[in-house]
Symmetry: C2
């Protein structure tokens, strides 16, 4: 068989379900192979930022690597920002990047560029095919590396290796297990917690943020008199009955300092030490109280779930009964829309087992603040800060979970990056409801200008942070890409529109026009999720 066919057959053996793609001429042998080899579904996207974000969303939901197929250096380049987010989410995305035929590479044809350099900043592994015969084995290397590092892996596939005969499917070893945390380390942390010398904060991240993981941590916290926090911008966090509500690490450094005030120990469990999202004058990079000692139980790649389970045993917390968490009543959205009332409307109408993709930016933090009132769901967020992840990740999550409704809480500025995702949602008939928080501004930048002491931006600064003149008509854009859409301006209308969207299959977009924002910073309201 051809190299391309052996690669795809091996991808199937490896459990890869979907390949999100935007192919070109160098990928033609792989395009053909989808018709020769069953089992991996090809999903087309109109631009590569959608391809990579969708692969991230798919893999976040399935835990299985999703594949991308991209066209040479420029195709990869267009997908890098969402691969950056996938890297921060520790998502095992498998990129296959078509490259010129080996004998054609020295000619430096117009589309030639250094694909390896481009791939390295976002990949835990970068490699090249060496022949049609070896391509499948090299794909397995990429696959194993993606799972070993929990990072994107990038295989650069030369066109002649793909179109040539001589390929053979390769065996796929069992997925590498996450490295275990040493028992001694767990014992040390248990001793620390049990010693009771000052209050402890348990900071959960990565794959611990399941209902089970959060409950286990809450039992430990209850036993040792600590509190559970979750990392800012988790790749995926579950909420539902019996999942105790937990606080998130805030965005601005002064707020991070504040939430950890009074704690003596911070125990990292699959999470990194909190770091300021940006460096601010007079603020430290690690915004933690001086007296807070940081201890790592498990890093983001280790088996933090198992470590947490063992820690619960060792601390005698495994059997702790958690207080029965009543599902609170969510607020009722009324009148002109705000970030808070948009979140309230989503919570109020949210179907069971929804996947909420939150790229609300300055409108985003309002949702997790009240999400305990929602039925069981999981939330996926922007892990790397590269905007334009919301619509693509929602697309990939919907492909991964056709039986679960997807709600995309989406800032307008970020939506403008990768709005082409709507077309794939329409084509695949995906059950995604997008709520555009339309404030027609880069509101987070206005907040940053104020932090920099600019209360009255000049004309140029005002222009560079405004999305008005003209305001984008998101309903028209959505319809252009094949997604039915409507516009709402009040909480009541939004509730009604959400109910209709949830009742109908297929994608919908609701443009939620925010009321005039006040210039004053309302606590939390301007904080990005």
């Amino acid at each position: 068989m051809k190299g391309s066919e052996s690669l795809l057959a091996t991808a199937k053996t490896a459990g890869v379900q979907v390949c999100f793609a935007n192919p070109g001429t160098t990928e033609i042998p792989l395009v053909e192979a989808f018709d020769q080899v069953d089992g991996v579904r090809a999903v087309l996207a109109l631009s590569e930022g959608v391809v990579t974000g969708a692969a991230d969303g798919h893999a976040r939901m399935t835990g299985v690597p999703a594949m991308t197929l991209l066209h040479l250096g420029p195709g990869l380049a267009n997908g890098l920002a969402n691969l950056h987010n996938a890297r921060r989410a520790r998502t095992p995305v498998l990129n296959v990047i078509g490259e010129h035929a080996t004998w054609h590479q020295p000619a430096d044809a117009p589309l030639a560029s250094d694909i390896e350099l481009l791939a390295r900043p976002v990949s835990g592994w970068v490699g090249r095919t060496s022949s049609a015969a070896a391509a499948a084995t090299e794909f397995v290397e990429a696959h194993q590396a993606a799972l070993r590092h929990r990072l994107p892996a990038t295989l650069i596939a030369a066109a002649d290796h793909m179109w040539s005969q001589g390929g053979e499917p390769a065996d796929v070893p069992a997925a590498p297990a996450r490295p275990a945390v040493a028992d001694q380390r767990i014992a040390e942390i248990a001793k620390l917690l049990n010693a009771g010398r000052g209050r402890s904060a348990l900071l959960l991240g990565g794959h611990t943020l399941t209902a089970d993981g959060i409950r286990t941590a809450a039992r430990i916290a209850a036993r040792v008199g600590g509190e559970v926090f979750v990392e800012r911008s988790p790749a995926r966090i579950e909420r539902g009955p019996g999942v105790p509500p937990v606080r998130s690490v805030p965005y601005f450094p002064e707020d991070v300092m504040r939430v950890f005030d009074g704690f003596s120990h911070l125990v990292l469990i699959g999470a990194r030490t909190p770091v300021a999202f940006f460096g601010y004058r007079g603020m430290p990079s690690y915004p933690l109280p001086n007296r807070l000692e940081v201890h790592e139980l498990a890093d983001a790649n280790q088996d933090a779930v198992e470590a947490l389970r063992t820690l619960a045993e060792v601390t005698g917390s495994a059997a702790v009964e958690l207080p029965r968490a009543e599902r609170p009543q969510g607020p009722t959205p009324k009148g002109p829309l705000s970030a808070a009332s948009i979140a309230a409307a989503i919570v109020l109408t949210q179907p069971d087992q929804a996947i909420v993709v939150n790229e609300g930016v300055s409108s985003g933090a309002a949702y997790p603040a009240i999400a305990a009132a929602a039925p069981p769901h999981c939330e996926l967020t922007n892990t790397g800060g590269a905007i334009g992840m919301g619509m693509p990740v929602a697309t990939g999550a919907a492909v991964a979970c056709p039986d679960r409704p997807v709600i995309n809480l989406q800032a307008d500025g970020s939506a403008a990056y990768t709005v082409q995702a709507l077309w794939t949602q329409a084509r695949e008939g995906l059950d995604v409801t997008t709520v555009i928080c339309a404030n027609s501004r880069y509101q987070i930048l206005e907040a940053e200008l104020r932090r920099a002491g600019i209360e009255q931006p000049g004309e140029a600064a005002a222009n560079l942070t405004s999305l008005g003149s003209p305001t984008v008509d998101w309903t028209a854009v959505a319809r252009g890409f094949g997604v039915p859409a409507n516009r709402v301006t009040t909480g009541e209308e939004l509730v009604e529109a959400l109910r209709r969207a949830h009742a109908e299959p297929g994608p919908h977009l609701i443009e939620a026009i925010l009321g005039t924002p006040t210039k004053q910073r309302v606590k939390g309201a301007l904080e990005p999720n």
Copy 2:
């Protein structure tokens, strides 16, 4: 003054007129600086592919470096594909990429990544600011490098260097001149041409493609019995009365072989040796007849214009009278639309001194084939093959030349990459008329499948090359971004729509629905421009 202010003041001194921007928090000091320092206009775009493509288009028209302002690694990443095209166009784009404050960089905050690695494949020069005091001088280094190499240059500007006081505007030396071609080389080429041992093809590229440059080459060809060709996909080519029509190097290698058949010498004048756009089985990378000898008069960076002028003198061609080129009558577009009739309608209605940005891909080659019938104009094309350049380059060209109408002949698949450019066209009131060649397919990929022997693509391949289900409604998308739009299906309607668009100021989009394509390859019709 602040580092950011010194940088911007120096940019002004250097002649930079416009900074296309999509800033974030790390760029706030530069955002502020636009209000403190006059002279450089900031133009916002909704995504970075628009920013970099617009800078390319602006610099192609003005010859002066255009600046970009991008947000960290992900912002640069989103703009890389059009910087790849700018690199191939040899356009001096000046990228300023905001970076975390120096003291915050070791913390590896979520948005941190290796900006230098990302920048290198598209830049002739990459550097970092070292302090507020040195930032302006470092900007000058970037500026000089961009002009010396005729390539994008990338300066990574740390936020603390930008916000700190101590900046001072720097002196800007005269723009580096292009390296001169040695007289001896010119004499050798002259001797070769005058010897008359076989026919010579003069291949023009780069900055020689002005009315004057083409005329000079035509005089030499007339004198020595040769023929003038122009490189495939020129960054900018002028046409008009007295500019002799010249043949382009074709796209497919077998066609390249054919056009140079019968020639003994190929003289490169600011152009590279023709290279196959992709490597095809059984085809060489350099598709030239065996007996064709290649000689380089001037490479793409040298002063090919001056070398051409001298060559004309030395060959005794300077005074050759060219046959008076009559402007031919263009064909009249009638009935269902084809690539040919779209080109005909554009030519028929084209205002004087238009700038035609041609990213027609499979509908693109029809335009240059008949452009001699159009009034004086220049054409900008996709130099690097990274699709999504048309709308951004048209935007930048329109900002550069507010008194010239811009016509963007635009393939639909490529339009979907950077359609956000329409918003900037609306905001800035740019006189751009976009004609979407809507065939709802990646037609070039269908052609490539047939070249690979696949006459009847399977379902997966058909899906991966089709833009149908749903077809994009380009008029809705355009209106969503603030650009008035309409749809046409016949040559007569297109002529009418173009006339209306040209008569009104501001941007317009016309969706030109192509008739059902035949599966047969019509010579030239499927050849990308």
